[in-house]
Amino acid sequence: MSPAELPPPPGVDGTSLAGTTPYVISAEENRALCASLGAAAAADGTAHPIYFFIATQVGMGQTVAGLCALCDFDVEEGPVIASSSVTFSHALMTEQPYRVTGEINSLVRKRSRTFGVMDVLEYALRLSLPDGQPVLETINVWMLPRRSLA
């Protein structure tokens, strides 16, 4: 089957990933997370920057399984995270409610030496303060193996 003969992926570009409830980084969880990294939590209420990933991923309107399902992909098949990027406008703080918005940018089907066929899912998520002030934007890319199409 040539690339042109592959069936198209589901049309999910632009699907909203907005969260329904604000996400709050608990100070207690931040301490536990920092401890797991062998680091001390900041005394000024600043959260570990890795919460860019956690807050957006947990606070978006879909679980990872739900996001995969939108792409007609069973999470049990094993999505593989490929890359993450983030740009901060402000540091993350504990006990601060954050609003999560975002959308799927693209789902592209392609041949893969590793998986045979895979869909490359790219989505953007943003955190903002309750008054709308932007805090960060992150883009994640996942590979969804489509071994049955190989």
């Binding site: 997370l33 797991s36 680091a39 570990h48 920057p49 860019f52 990027s85 983030v86």
Partner: protein
Amino acid sequence: MNGGRAPSSGAALAVGTRLPPYSIAAVDPESMKLWAAFLHDPNPIHLDPRAVQAKGLGDKVINQGPANLAYVITMLQRAFPGSTLVSLAARYAGSVFAEDTVQAGGTIVEVAGEASGVRIRCDVWLRANERDPAITGQAVLVLPKE
């Protein structure tokens, strides 16, 4: 800009400077259970070695990618105390398994003065047991004026 130093870190702020590495002697599988809760991610490959074996991925549980990235960020925080992380782009290039020894490191590739302080761009990486990098990427930080 040459000849400056990151506050308290001892790292010279010059292009080519290697950042002090940050190491974890052995990745703790118990920590993966914590991260599964942090991430709301029940994927069994992080929790049950049998799930890893069933997928042909090895025989030890696999650390979560964001946890690996957090080691890199922690390395940056130690190298540049008081800095602000402006941006980070990372590629997840490989797996880290339970009991692996991991080391995060980096190299300064650009230093520029600006109104708010010194902007530093670094190449960053994470290696496990001397294998090829599990993470590669680039970070930009700003050190405030002293």
